[in-house]
Amino acid sequence: MPSLEANRHAWLRLAPRLTIAVLLLPVGAGLAGVLAPAFGWYPALGGTNLSLDPWRALFAWPGLGGAIWLSVVTGLGATAISLLITVMICAAWQGTRAFGVIERALSPLLSVPHAAAAFGLAFLIAPSGWIARALSPWATGWDQPPDILITQDPWGLSLMAGLVVKEVPFLLLMTLAALGQVPARRSVLVSQTMGYGRMAGWVLTVLPRLYAQIRLPVYAVLAYSCSVIDVALILGPTRPSTLSVQVLEWLSDPDLSLRFQAAAGAILQLALVIGLLLLWRGGEAVAARLGCAAIRRGHRFAADRAARTLSMGLALIAALTVGLGILGLAVWSVAGFWTFPDLLPDQFTWRNWTRQSATVTGTALETVMIGAAATVISIGLTIACLEAEYRHGLRQTRRALWLLYLPLLVPQATFLIGLQTLAIGADLGGVRSTVIAAHVVFVLPYVFLSLSDPWRAWDSRQGLVAASLGAGANRILWRVRLPMLLRPVLAAAAVGFAVSVGQYLPTLLIGMGRVSTLTTEAVALSSGGDRRLIGVYALSQTIMPLIGFALALALPALLFRDRRGMLDRG
């Protein structure tokens, strides 16, 4: 019985398809745009014959083995450690008061841009960083910064650490969202009554049901960690650097012929990610087998006090690292003369800020404009999709979820290079609106993932009641559903804005130096090593998303201050 109303709004039916196109077309076009030059086709640079020369050049590069190894190790290492810490925290503390403390300590880290967290970590662990200062000279005997390589260490350890402190909060949040659908506390309780340790009970009875739902986020972490650029530029080793950083280096080389090699490297990066995902998938099967074997043997693993304490310690270290790191950025940004090993600068000054105020303000405005535009577009598309789903009784399929994750699984370093090639060809490179479009590809999935659960959880009887009172579909949407869901809508917008602010590669490659944000400026400063300047830019970059989240909290609280029923919903 299709009603007249439904026909009038048939255009809404197109929203899901439009959204898929917004996600899929750039990824597909980008892949095509990088595949062609990888096989010698790049007419603008005189490449009009298909050949394997780019690949020969790539494999002839002596650092290739080292770069691949580094990418594999950091990718797998950062993902495995992040997942392990997340699982330990949940297994040890879920359902307790301490879990709430951990959650509150870690969730703000989500809003910190990757680059800012990486700079903060670098300022903490560098030879002249806060940790060395705190221990000198009384414990170390150093009265000068030691000449050792701690950040950018050749094993990629600091790079992995920089990734882990950011990925643990992300995985924890995704796990929390999935936990709502599993009767976790009862399962653990039942296992405990049979003598199983709390952690063993969780890992053996909750994790198997939960993992299917956090699998895609884990894959996204793996793909990201293996191909990340901005964090690797700040914390990762050089000579060889990771594969993706090397690809970017070739891409920005004045010698344009290296672009062919860069394209081949980008395809290799994609192959690497696919290979790692398959390997991880195999690892999942092995882990499941080990779990089943443990269950068959019936070990209770009751003595888990040490592991529980350890997990709490790791969570706090992660929170403290980022927190102190941001504080470090703040102190450096107002530091005057600062001698080693003093813990604080000899003098404080606003000069670092005042000298930069014009440029920082301009770049911040550009950042806000790009972030706001990308967020508004993403929110609009998301609500249109969800509303179409509601009005037309559509259901999200598993395949749709994979499509949503596609831009997070295909390495940015691969398809953005192709997209840049196409943008240059279409004369759209270095234009703000193109940069915004590129940001939408990454903002949209996060906005959709944040908003879809609360949107679907809305009591649809409210809509039915409104309809029975004579309200049409649009009136219900604008007068009932959106106001009631204002809190989650603004929260999703804040997440989207934070994602946009944190983007490095899309701005760099599509903006082509003509459009720059606080993130691209901050990362560009990393090679110069002027800590005061880095402090100014990285701190500004951190503040942006915080303002977004603060507004998302304050606005509903202000608007609905006299509506008790609107408190703590969604």
Binding site: M1, P2, S3, L4, E5, A6, G393, D459, R461, Q462, L464, V465, A466, A467, S468, L469, G470, A471, G472, A473, R479, V480, P483, M484, L486, F560, D562, R563, R564, G565, M566, R569
Partner: protein, 221 residues
């Protein structure tokens, strides 16, 4: 007879299971009670009457309201009022705004609209409550607001879906009297869906199962 709500050989089946089989006439001010355990097709019947049938159900027969076939009409065109066991007041609107949401746009002018809202509140013993946050009202007060909101939209029929099951015994009796009294006073045909025998008997109308078996004939009022 054309006035009232008529279920004309209405059957609803899921696969080969027949859930609803009704041929009934409900006159204005009359209450038909459909009683049965959960899962017996009561809520399916309601969703069909509202105009939002669940997928997978086969519906045959007609639903006529004041002689008009409702086939193909969505919930907001049918003008059938709904009361659930939860009051479902909109939490972001004040009590008065909730009522204003229901008041048809044909009631024009701020003063006229406010007067109608004030009168409705008065009828529910809630005079002066217009500016209140619904969350600060008691359960009984909220239930009364929900009924007045429903009636203000000038419904042509009323569906009552276990509307009293959340209330405690004392309040339940008061609320029943209030709702049934308003239904009769406004002359609206109503269907009450419940699994509670006391509710069913208090409604004073015919009591049947979703498959049309008569449990109790209408008491003369």
């Amino acid at each position: 007879m054309t006035d009232g709500l008529r279920l004309d050989l209405l059957t609803i089946t899921l696969g080969d299971r027949r859930l609803v089989d009704l041929d009934e006439c409900i006159a204005p001010g009359e209450i038909l009670t459909v009683m049965g355990p959960s899962g017996s097709g009561k809520s399916t019947l309601l969703s069909v009457l509202i105009g939002q049938p669940d997928q997978g159900f086969d519906v045959s027969g007609r639903v006529l309201l004041d002689g008009q076939d409702l086939q193909g009409m969505g919930p907001q065109a049918r003008r059938i009022g709904l009361l659930f066991q939860d009051d479902l007041l909109f939490p972001h609107l004040s009590v008065g705004e909730n009522l204003g949401f229901a008041l048809p746009a044909s009631v024009r002018g701020r003063a006229a609209r406010e007067a109608r809202i004030a009168a409705a509140l008065e009828a529910a013993d809630l005079a002066g409550f217009a500016a209140r946050d619904p969350a600060t009202l008691s359960g009984g007060q909220r239930a009364r607001v929900a009924l007045m909101r429903c009636l203000l939209s000038a419904p042509r029929a009323l569906l009552l879906d276990e509307p009293f099951s959340r209330l405690d015994a004392d309040l339940r009796r008061q609320m029943r009297d209030f709702v049934f009294g308003r239904v009769r006073a406004e002359g609206i045909p109503a269907i009450l869906v419940t699994h509670d025998l006391e509710d069913a008997l208090a409604a004073g109308g015919k009591v049947i199962s979703p498959l049309g078996e008569v449990r109790q004939t209408a008491k003369p009022a």
